[in-house]
């Protein structure tokens, strides 16, 4: 059975308290974020059903939301997700070259995950970092002013971290 830790359950309760009594449906978006982060980086049906039961919603109310917003992954993804912005302002500053460079380095195209399960490449639309382009989102943070050297460093950083966790 899938279950949040006690700490996370407290966080769910804190979020529910943002809203007036009986309006806990509003908590679905933040709680789905929490669930995605806790249960493997994506939302399985089981995860969505669990969120529905926590918020006393019909499962369909959760599916509807999960399928609308682009930050929710409905399929498994790699441990590290490179979400490279490709909209106009980033394109003007060379985002296409960054996408291509990641492909050259890792052999993955947008939407694909590397064979070792470490990396997923995703192209996304404007992330509000247009003045710091090219850029990508990785987890909770942005990596900005990307260059090939910076991409190399980020890939190494991820690999080192993954090895450290394994050992």
């Amino acid at each position: 059975m899938m279950k949040f830790s006690d700490d996370k359950l407290k966080e769910v309760q804190r979020i529910i308290n943002f809203y007036p009594d009986g309006k806990q449906k509003s908590a679905v978006i933040p709680v789905l974020h929490l669930a995605q982060q806790e249960f493997g980086g994506w939302l399985s049906t089981e995860t969505m059903d669990y969120v529905a039961s926590l918020l006393k919603l019909a499962p369909i109310e959760v599916y509807e939301v999960a399928t609308f917003y682009s930050m929710y992954n409905l399929k498994p993804v790699g441990k590290y997700m490179f979400e490279v912005c490709q909209t106009g302002p980033c394109m003007l500053n060379g985002s296409d070259d960054i996408v291509k460079y990641i492909y050259d380095k890792l052999g993955i195209k947008p939407g694909e995950t590397s064979a070792d399960g470490l990396f997923t490449l995703k192209t996304v639309e404007c992330l509000g970092a247009c003045g710091y382009a090219p850029m990508m989102q990785m987890g909770k943070n942005y990596r900005e002013h990307l260059t090939k050297e910076k991409v190399d460093a980020i890939i190494n950083e991820c690999r080192n971290e993954a090895t450290a966790i394994k050992n």
């Binding site: 007036p20 509807e64 106009g88 003007l92 996304v124 639309e125 404007c126 247009c130 003045g131 989102q137």
Partner: protein
Amino acid sequence: MGRKLLLDKAHIENIRLYDVYRREGGYRSVEKALKTMSPDAVTEEVKKSGLRGRGGAGFPTGMKWSFLAKPEGVPRYLVVNADESEPGTFKDRYLMEFIPHLLIEGMITSSFALGSNRAYIYIRGEYAWIVDILEQAIQEAKNNGFLGKNILGSGFDCEIYVQRGAGAYICGEETALLESLEGKRGNPRIKPPFPAVKGLWDCPTVVNNVETIAAVVPIINEGGEEYAKIGIGKSTGTKLISACGNIKKQGVYEIDMTISVEEFIYSDEYCGGIANGRKLKACIPGGSSVPILPANLLLTTAKGEKRMMTYESLADGGFATGSMMGSGGFIVLDDTQCVVKHTYTLARFYRHESCGQCSPCREGTGWMEKILLNIENGKGKMSDIDLLWDIQRKIEGNTICPLGDAAAWPVAAAIRHFRDEFEWHITNADEAQRRNYGLMHYADPIHVPVTA
């Protein structure tokens, strides 16, 4: 140096912390409003200031506030729009990241004016780290008696909560935002009823942009009339501009609305000129949704006047020869850039972001994207240009929310001003794969007809 009212203190070390912010004069507007003014008097000052919404539409804020319905016994809500997803726009992020207490202070003062005891900040999901910054600022304000029950002994209660979105440009549209805040898909509502009457959970609601609410702080501190003295005509006060693309110094600038577009691009105080010694070709001055202008029409209106960084001057000439202030997302293209490709990325953006409720928007954005990609890839036909024109005309004005218009306008403006670049892409398809069209005549002085 222009006047700065919002970011003048943003560079001070640790201004993110309550103690520093307070020492620098923070939360004075809350003291002034709650101790010496009535809620209506606060609204009156905002009206006098001439402040216009900074989210894109430029609607007068004081007037919006006065439309808020106030039925007995029904809660009212202030919702701050921090969804900031219009390509080219990253000013609200800067404000929240560097001087978060300014937003919190503005929200408390505004909530007092509106009689809202519970206010929300709806922030785009990707700005995850800013949620922590805002929640810390809220906690600090609460610890110091500026939030919670009976603030400063005035009898006014107020709480602020931060709600994260999850990736959807459409949730910046105010009714889609409210749907999302209610835990639903971000499908815009049909208006009327307007949020001022039926908003969050069917209660009267005011939705304002981050920068709009932050501007309430200097307005209350200095008085609406003082604020209105800055700027030109109906463009009062200061405006945050996020500048990006091919300029030397990309970033967020606060301008008082008295400078010219030329000064903004070329002066060292702002963008510092075009990067890498290139030339200015085109610019989208107010976020991806507003019309793109070639260099000549950007710097000089069709009447031959210097174009200024004001709502009126940027819009001078209407869509035929002007553009809009929009969200203040200033995107600059140099002479190596391709207008067809840039327009294609925007069309792809709008197709991706359409919520799909209205067929002209859902289908039309997809068709425009496909046709533009064909032209960009050297597979276009001459008739495609007219087809694009036709599609955008059929979207505009025929949809539930303005995203349809926002998708149509960039395509329309690109064809209007850069038609020969589109044609060249089609007639010289092979060459267009190897090089871009270049500056051509887009910066040539415009011929201003002599009036009798």
